[in-house]
């Protein structure tokens, strides 16, 4: 039932670049959430995606302040540089930062830590996140996940329904049409909202460049003590030491993603400006998660299982 639009734009004047079209869509989503929900919150890890999120949130409500707080799930295994950036960045924007600590749940006996040598706290983030959402009565939770990151995420909705246990049911997702988002939920349920769904890693960096957004220093090439583990380069930090048979050496590296220090690998790179990072990302033949995230290598369905439980 379509007829050709009666309208033309012969000069091609009224066109947005794909990056500005993505920005406009994200802003639309931020405003829709602010209008439809009572207590939204934005998950902020200090990584590039959540930094872009916060930047978009600022633009969405300008000149008014961002009308919701941000939440950091602190595993206790973060890179120091990232924590420092988190505090400085949120303070500069004047948003309220809430921190939910995994350690608190371990101490209170709500979760049990796996103390085996190579264990990470990745899965422990989920109960802490769900606790923070429940305690804050949050009905909408912004996340920076992108569909290009991972197969299970490719099917996630922009408004993604979570039941009262915080669980995602991939087979029973609400259809999402046009730019109309169904925000209706019952008490205790919430919606995860992903404004960057249609962005790729390259879009994120191109946008950071275009907007002059500040990111933590570990994204840029720097000298660091590293060692090889499971085919990845791991940094020596207070959270991760090499086994006796693992050789430590100095290398110029940068991080493509920012996760916990004990499971996020770095890549050899000389890229110390955003231009160089963009060139590197455009030319890479490895996904960012495949290259640097031990947590995503668990199994083919690793992400889907964690997401069902309520992971980011």
């Amino acid at each position: 039932m379509s007829t050709p639009r009666t309208v033309t734009d012969p000069g091609g004047h009224y066109r947005l670049s794909q990056l500005r079209a993505l920005e406009a869509q994200a802003i639309h989503i931020f405003r829709e959430v602010a209008a439809e929900f009572e207590r939204p919150i934005l998950m902020f890890s200090g990584g590039k995606d959540s930094i872009v999120m916060l930047h978009l949130a600022k633009k969405s409500f300008w000149p008014a302040p961002i009308p919701f707080p941000v939440l950091h799930v602190d595993t206790g295994r973060n890179f120091d540089e990232v924590l420092e950036f988190r505090d400085r960045h949120t303070a500069a924007l004047g948003v309220r930062l809430e921190v939910a600590r995994v350690q608190d749940d371990i101490d209170a006996g709500r979760t049990v830590e796996d103390l085996s040598p190579r264990a990470t706290r990745n899965r422990l983030q989920t109960p802490t996140l769900l606790r923070a959402i429940a305690e804050g009565g949050h009905d909408a939770v912004f996340g920076g996940a992108r569909r290009d990151e991972e197969k299970a995420r490719a099917k996630e909705r922009i408004f993604s329904f979570r039941d009262q246990f915080g669980q995602w049911d991939p087979k029973n997702q609400r259809p999402e049409l046009w730019n109309i988002y169904n925000a209706r939920i019952n008490k205790g349920e919430h919606i995860r909202v992903f404004p960057l769904s249609n962005w790729t890693e390259l879009d994120v960096w191109t946008y950071i460049h275009a907007e002059g957004i500040d990111v933590p220093p570990i994204y840029f090439a720097h000298r660091r003590q590293v060692f090889q583990r499971d085919g990845m380069l791991m940094a020596v930090t207070q959270h991760l030491s090499p086994d006796p048979d693992e050789q430590v050496f100095e290398e110029v590296v940068r991080f493509r993603t920012v996760g916990d220090a004990d499971c996020t690998g770095c890549v050899e790179s000389m890229a110390d400006t955003i231009d160089q990072i963009i060139a590197e990302v455009a030319g890479t033949r490895l996904t960012e998660r495949g290259a640097t995230r031990a947590d995503d290598r668990v199994s083919e369905a690793g992400m889907e299982d964690r997401k069902r439980e309520g992971y980011f």
Binding site: M1, S2, L16, K151, A154, W178, L286, E304
Partner: protein, 619 residues
Amino acid sequence: MTELLRLATAGSVDDGKSTLIGRLLYDAKGIFEDQLDAIRRTSEQRGHHETDLALLTDGLRAEREQGITIDVAYRYFATPKRKFIIADTPGHSQYTRNMVTGASSAHLSLILIDARKGVIEQTRRHAFLSSMLGVPHMVVCVNKMDLVDWDQGRYEEIKSDFMEFAARLNVHDITFIPICAVRGDNVVQRSENMWWYDGTPLLNHLESVYIGSDENFIDPRFPVQYVIRSQTPENPDFRGYAGTVASGVLRPGDELLVLPTGTTSRIASIVTADGEVAEAFPPMSVVVTLEDDIAVTRGDILCRPNNRPTMTHDIEATVCWMDERAPLSEGRSYFLKHSTRTVRATVQSLQYRLEINGLHRDDTASTLELNEVGRVSFRCTEPLLVDDYTTNRTTGSFIVIDPQTNATAGAGVIRVLATTHASPNVVRHGVRLSRSDRFAALGTSGATVLFTGLSGAGKSTVAAGVEEAYVNSGRPAFLLDGDNLRHGLNGDLGFSDRDRTENVRRAGEVARMFADAGSLALIALICPFEEDRQLIRALHEEVGLPYAEVFLDTSLDECERRDPKGLYRRARAGQLPSFTGIDSTYEPPTNPDLVLTPGSGSIPEQVSRVLELVEGLLR
């Protein structure tokens, strides 16, 4: 500047859709080594000889287990010219809702046909849904050409089969490409096997198809999403209305009408975080400030005083039902979310259910089940501000939300009848000469008679007799014959519901002008739907011109026996889908002014009965 192109694919499990996408991603370097390694390993474990590119797109565990795609998956790749977002949807009828979801925001629909199987039910369903959702461009890939020995004849045959069906839809840009996804022929590289194909490969086409005019830049619509207030020291008294431009172009100084309140003001500024802009157009997200301090809230629409959406409690829409738990049924109440406004609405009636494959209408249906499509009338508790979907995807669409489960239960595309959405910014010239002066000076008076009935019922025969007799009596008459109109004025129209309605509307408008000029206008048209006939009647009644409806009540059996043009024979052979009387409904007129049956006498006798009717009209 890199542009964004959203495309929706539709295809079945085995026509190679996932392979084609995998191939596009692979050849355009949209996949990465580690992803390729993972699927290479999996392919080997399963004993496949070649890397199964379909594994790239089948994301969820259940899909991998069943080997099918069960949801909408989004894929991304970019070339220097464009970034592409692929909404990859399954093809089975039970996944119609996913198809509709994927197509709702697409610029282009990619339909796959297995060269061995040709146009099948599923192909027709995909084409129909793309058309229903107003996807502006369509690419039909005839895949697996290797399995038909790269045969051009087979390709041409499929192409013409598809075109015959598509003539009944409203798709205006269709491109055909013969491909072999497994080997990559005509996907990114030109195929040497198909030297006879002189078009471009798929990727090249996707990079160059013109999407610049897909947006509506004429009718300003700005649904208010959120009110931004600021009392910071820099902006002590800021109030602006945030939203996404749905259509049209907004500029500071423009006079605006706020609906539904009806107040007017002017745009003071268009604000973004990057500064004020001189123009805002779709799909920009901006903040509009007004010169006057008037009440504006979320759900309002800003438009122009002389170009406004229709404000109505009654919504007519084609609805796709998406809820497996409960069907849409008459009398049930739902929420409709339409742009930024959500209202309660009750289903007044389900006019018919559409059998998508043959475009057949079932008007006995009383419910719409999951994946079914039908024409629904809603009555809303508060008015909505709507445009016809074909002119505006944002103000012409809505979702249906189940108030008990909160599920997104359906999606609707709105139809606004032509009489009610006549462009309000076209101002009629003042009439220089009154109708009565004209008629008096010419010594005639105008009227319109519609002859309706099945093909072969005798409409044109009787109408031509009336025309001849009338003209021979020294008065002007003119026959507007359905077939002849389709050769000229309506040559751009097919046989979809919308085109049929448009065909009728144009005939009605032209007849009205003839009548207004003092002639007897005679329309001979099948005109199968009561609603369309009412439309012609309304066109005449609203300007006070005499009008009558003559129903040629000849049975289907008799018409089929006559079959003067051999059309019934072709329709029975399946060559003419949605042929009225065969697989498309004829709704008999509820209140015709004259009924003629084969028993009503000879043709001259029938002609004189119509002439009597006309004399009665003019008295």
